[in-house]
């Protein structure tokens, strides 16, 4: 098996394939390949990559992940889900999928019309890398008018000493009219230094809603590039909750485009970092149509030498009158050596809009802490209570009760291990 370094990936044989057919998917892949090569791996001179030195984080060699022929994986029986194995959809491991959901492997015939058009890959070669290299991506089609609950589970690596892999999970999710979808995504990783370069496109049709929760906790010493791009139509609502804790490196790109009237986008993040962990959240909300609403809140707790970057852009287009767009991020900086770079960015070209953005950062409130301690609660437990309370604003809003509880336990566990 060939191995690659991030620095030589785009000059490797993986990116020198000649166009072998003019079929739709290979045409898209061919053009993505060119685009990736042209952009190159971004360095901090690019505004959107200003705080990331990628080579500093990702310097180990990796293989391109393939779908194992003989897999010895066992999926937790409690999980009834769409399963991706090393970034490939696994029809054998996926099970109990709702009859109101169609799952088709992306090929020339099944390719949705707007495949790869919902992404925003400006200055970002990782979208193109995914498009060039993905194999066994899927189209998830949620039937109109149905209440649907979906789990997506990724399994990466097969043992603790498995060779680092580059995985490129690819999903296109159609939420048809009047459908109501609750989706939960999670990861199980064996081994370390795997790169997960995932792209999700969501086409959210009129009057539908999707509540998307991505549990990016405990990815440990692995690297996650996560692109989530939704296009939201008339009176549809797209909500995403991101929970990230205990992951060495994460770059999230969350984009929502409100393309028709009375659409709504909600983006929420609960981010906890410690040790040398690094997470960069880049979000873009495009208010293209009038009478739309967007809400965005990221909460951060930083310990040790960790780093969080937040860059939230809101664009209000010329025709997007009566827009309501709100963005806020709040951080608890609990170490002198932690770094927070936050940049809210608002560009408004319409004249009748309500927009706000803000960022706050600080330490735990000493009066609150003393109040708890003076009632007999030891200091470390009191601090954990306050940190959880800080995150509750995000966690309480997660629709899935079971997940909410498990995240609550996970955060307690994470915080007490500090």
């Amino acid at each position: 098996m060939n191995t690659y370094l991030l620095s030589d990936l785009l000059t490797s044989s993986l990116f020198s394939a000649e166009n072998i057919s003019d079929k739709p998917l290979s045409t898209i892949k061919q053009s993505a390949q060119k685009s990736a090569i042209k952009k190159g791996i971004p360095n901090p001179s690019k505004e959107d990559w200003k705080y990331i030195n990628l080579y500093k984080h990702i310097h180990t060699s990796f293989q391109l992940a393939e779908l194992p022929l003989h897999n010895t994986m066992k999926v937790d029986s409690k999980i009834s889900a769409i399963v991706f194995l090393n970034g490939h959809y696994s029809s054998t491991l996926s099970k109990n999928v709702n009859k109101n959901v169609d799952i088709e492997v992306l090929d020339d015939i099944s390719l949705p019309e707007c495949f790869n058009t919902l992404v925003n890959s400006k200055d970002n070669p990782f979208v193109d890398i995914n498009t060039s290299l993905f194999n066994h991506g899927i189209h998830v089609n949620c039937h109109p008018g149905e209440d649907i609950s979906i789990q997506i589970h990724h399994i990466i690596g097969n043992s603790h000493d498995s060779q680092p892999l580059l995985c490129n999970p690819r999903l296109f999710i159609s939420v048809q009219e009047n459908a109501k979808v609750e989706l939960l995504e999670s990861y199980t990783i064996h081994g370390k230094h795997h790169i997960i370069n995932e792209i999700i496109e969501l086409d959210v049709h009129p009057n539908s809603s999707i509540d998307y929760t991505v549990n990016q906790t405990s990815l440990e010493e692995n690297y996650l590039f996560y692109g989530h791009y939704s296009t939201i139509k008339t009176k549809a609502i797209s909500t995403i909750h991101i929970v990230n804790a205990g992951t060495a490196f994460t770059r999230n790109e969350i984009n929502a485009s409100l393309v028709e009237q009375h659409a709504e986008a909600n983006i929420y993040g609960a981010i906890l970092t410690k040790k040398n962990e690094f997470i960069d959240n880049h979000t873009v909300v495009n208010h293209i149509a009038p009478h739309c609403e967007s809400n965005e809140l990221f909460k951060h707790i930083l310990h040790d030498e960790s780093t969080i970057v937040f860059n939230g852009k809101i664009f209000v287009f010329k025709d997007a009158q009566k827009t309501n767009a709100y963005q806020s991020n709040k951080s608890l900086l609990l170490s002198d050596n932690a770094t927070l770079n936050t940049k809210p960015q608002l560009e408004i070209f319409a004249d009748d809009v309500k927009c706000s953005h803000g960022a706050t950062s600080g330490a735990l409130d000493s009066d609150q802490l003393f109040y708890l301690i003076s009632r007999g609660i030891p200091e470390n437990i009191a601090k954990t209570l306050l940190m959880k309370a800080f995150m509750n604003e995000i966690i309480d809003d997660i629709p899935n009760e079971e997940l909410k509880e498990s995240i609550d336990v996970l955060i307690s566990h994470y915080l007490t291990r500090l």
């Binding site: 708890l372 301690i373 003076s374 009632r375 030891p378 200091e379 306050l386 995150m391």
Partner: protein
Amino acid sequence: MLKINNLHASINDTEILKGINLQVNAGEIHAIMGPNGSGKSTLASVLAGKEDYEITQGSIEFLGKNLVDMKPEHRAAEGLFLAFQYPVEIPGVSTANFLKTALNEIKKYRGEETLDAMDFLSFMKEKAKLVDIDISFIQRSLNEGFSGGEKKRNEIFQLAMLEPKLSILDETDSGLDIDALKIVSHGVNTLKTKNNATILITHYQRLLDYIIPDYVHVLYKGKIVKSGDKNLALELESRGYDWIKEDLSLA
């Protein structure tokens, strides 16, 4: 129960308490009164263990143990309770969850068995009834959006839950209307036993119409300058503090 001997305490090198002597026994209610800035709230904070204050001289003994070197959470576990003048709001932490944690941590400290969710709930309901507080109120975030009176009632409810040996009520009457004052006083009187003791820190005599103290002390410029029974409070009410200041300057 509590023995304070020649206590001196400072904040940012400014001495606030300048030699306090006070003894409180089980079954007693002491009122500490005094004009603004006399050191009343500082005394409460020092007893509860607030770090901002430095004890420069003297000793505090609580149930035979040296309180000065004891962590604030251990003071609570030993049976000391401070009802705050300004209870803080903590969004995201419910009063119930907070009290369950506090109660069980205190039990762990004492080597007692902790309460499970069911036992805690029934215990909480019993205490809520005792101090006449609505249970829905307890499920809400701690003091978030509460009125001044509601916050003080929550302090009394916490007092009921934690069953301390010594309660210090710091200006619990401030900001209360007469109805709230009656409810709070009723709570304190109900919880009174011969085994526990109460220190009421107050500016006004009003509270002492509802909670009758055994002793009244006047704190002035960081010292207890006069002690007496409840009649001293009445005298302060009619004459103000000036006569005490004059007495002192003559002495």
